[in-house]
Amino acid sequence: MIQRSAICAASLLLLAFTSGPPDTELRLCLRSEPRTFDPLLVEDESSETIRYLTSGVLVRLNRATQQVEPELATSWKILDGGRRIDFQLRPGVRFSDGSPFTAVDVAYTIRRVIDPNVHASIGDGFRTGDGSVRTVVRSPESISVIFPAPFALLPTIFDQLAIVPANAPAGEKAVLGPFMVADYKAGNYVLLRRNPNYWRRDEAGHPLPYIGSVRLLIQQNRDLELMRFRRGEIDMISKLDPELFDRIAPESHGRARDAGPGLDSVVFWFNQSQAAPIPEWKKRWYTSAAFRRAVSMGINRADLCRLVWRGHAVPAAGPVSPANRAWVNGAIKPDAYSPAAATASLERDGFHLKGGTLYDRDGHAVEISLISNAGNPLHERAMAMIRQDLAKIGIRVTIVVLDFPSVIERITRTFDYEACLLPMLPELDPQTQQNMWLSAGENHPWNPAEKSPATAWEAEVDRLMRAQAADTNQQKRKAAFDRVQQILAEQQPMICLVHPDVLLVTGPRVRNAAPAIIRPQLLWNADRLQVAP
């Protein structure tokens, strides 16, 4: 009887410890259903948020300073010209089920990630050159990871590698992050509870996280999300539309914040694929750098920022946002809006304006169709403005809004489109964008998977991107990528329009929020967030 009572008491204590007081629950919305809870298979934003909150990583990119910081690894050393990295692991760390964390877990995680049968999205990032990544476990607290070729992304890539347990009794449910998945109701919510074995403590030695649980409510409608925030049902929104931000800002007592331009860009590009089923004369327009530059000059980016993004965006000079402090080429400025200069440039390229319509040298009226995905009012407004701006230089634009799969089908498979407007969501390091900038890349937007570079400038971009990928000298990499940005600004294969600001709001209960422009903007320091009762 005494033994049973003791077990009950211990269980209650454990429950109280792991769940935390009910009023320290942080509530926020996910915009979509998480597609997976396996941290190695994450591809969507909701799953990524859950991975960030539940997983432990060897190093963490500090979202505020953009510097890599120790996490489960206390130190690391890059050796053999960038082919090898040695990690010293943090001692005494335990998974949420109590099993110890060792170098064997790191080796197991890397083996799983590079296994082609697992289809881990992060696996591509680990494949450099011929051959595969090897690990050497030197002791329970030290491991070497050896790459077949010099790898520029060290150690940043380990920010996304969630360590999974090799031998934990709870299997892969055991986590190293501040929270663990406690409950999931499809279409309703994901409940995360505090990990009782989380390794980090605050400066005073108190265990982190402060919050007892995080309830992630699945809510696609942004207006309903705002309504729930106003009612106090959720505590924060990390990605507000400009209109909603302007509406909530006056009543938020300074808790709605414009964190400045994010890493994302809104871009549009002309289809330069020779396989495209579009007339030959249109292909000649789209492969003309002068035509593309004129179009860029004919678009009023300042008005786009002011009207569509209501002042919460900055004109884009190129695909790299000024928020990416380490990699942006600050010497490049956005094209100034000048219909006169655009017209002059077009005339030099053989076009002529007649009766308000632009004609090419063969007498074809310049008419282009611009596609984008349905359901994004900001993009639809941007296209309406582009239509009116380009009409001033005689170009007639037909706007076509399609469902998202149709857009992807056209830009990646059939190439049956003329111009496309979409957002670009890059990571910080250019190494992660190889698939986009290399002419052979599947995601090379204007002409995917070229067998050989179609132009001299694309060949130069290929050379520079490969050079920076194989170099571990940060200055040399930056110089190479600066030149890439310069070429892109001169050639305008992708006309970058704006970098939207990161707009967010926190409720009155939340303490220690430190908004950042990199995902997850409000949750990156989740272990230090506090929720007032």
Binding site: D223, M227, E243, L244, R247, D303, L307, V308, R310, E367, S369, I371, A374, G375, N376, P377, E380, R381, M383, A384, M385, R387, Q388, T398, I399, V400, V401, L402, D403, S406, D416, Y417, E418
Partner: protein, 268 residues
């Protein structure tokens, strides 16, 4: 009282029609962006204010009325004619023809029309103008919408075929073709009119639904559905009630059609 309501409904419909047509000759366009006057409140220059890109809301509303209330009746007429042909033939002939036609109707009723519309929209050539695109959309609505009215027409046609007066006419030597023209078509006229009036608001709302999904009319044209999208920001209309105008028209016009039809039915 009913007559008064019907007259009011007819007057309102006439006013909407006149405004939509007269606006064709007014200066300015629904697509012109007055970028120095965004989100303007109602004024003499812009009686319904402007939207977030500085487009005149009144001009947009009139353009939306023109598109929605010219193309929706055309689509409704198209549906009704197909329903008359298929439902009337099925009910009048009976037997295997009736069975076959009704199987086809069942298939059409069970089609996921929204996905079909999205698919057709996706395979349209990209350089077709916004006007052609919206005509195709309404045409599809018309083509897809005949099945339900056809069932009603079929039931009525069968009842006529089995009626005593038709039996008497046949006994007197009247041929099938003569009966079809002299008996069936006049008898179906009221039911076809009713189906037309039922289809009309359905198609207006269907286009609005496509507009809500962002797959309706695109710039430079505008539809009522597209304008109603602005109301998705559910609290915006407390601050700017005039943006409710397209929603009001969307409710008012079908209601007026209903009352006008109600009066017509009673008169007949």
């Amino acid at each position: 009282m009913n007559r008064w309501i019907r007259r009011t409904a007819l007057v309102l419909l006439a006013l909407l029609a006149i405004a939509a047509v007269v606006s064709l000759w007014l200066p300015g366009s629904a697509a012109v962006q007055y970028r120095d006057a965004i989100d303007a409140v109602p004024s003499a220059r812009f009686p319904l204010g402007t939207d977030e890109l500085g487009r005149d809301r009144l001009a947009q509303l009139l353009c939306g009325i023109r598109i929605s209330f010219l193309l929706a009746p055309a689509a409704a007429l198209f549906s009704t004619l197909i329903a008359a042909l298929i439902g009337g033939t099925a009910g009048w002939c009976g037997g295997r023809i009736e069975w076959l036609f009704m199987v086809v109707a069942d298939v059409f009723v069970s089609l996921p029309w929204l996905f079909l519309l999205i698919t057709v929209r996706a395979i349209l050539p990209l350089d077709v103008s916004a006007a052609v695109s919206i005509v195709v959309t309404f045409l599809l609505l018309g083509i897809l919408g005949w099945a339900a009215p056809a069932r009603v027409v079929r039931a009525r046609a069968r009842a006529i075929r089995q009626s005593e007066y038709v039996l008497y006419a046949r006994a007197c030597g009247a041929g099938r073709a003569r009966l079809f023209v002299r008996q069936l078509i006049p008898d179906l006229r009221s039911i076809l009119a009713a189906q037309f009036w039922i289809c009309l608001p359905v198609y207006v709302i269907s286009e609005a639904n496509l507009g809500l999904l962002g797959l309706g009319v695109t710039d430079p044209l505008v539809s009522l559905g597209g304008m109603v999208r602005a109301l998705q920001s559910q609290t915006a209309f407390f601050a700017r009630p005039w943006i409710l105008a397209p929603a009001a028209v969307l409710v008012l016009a079908p209601a007026c059609l209903h009352f006008a039809r109600l009066g017509e039915d009673r008169a007949s």
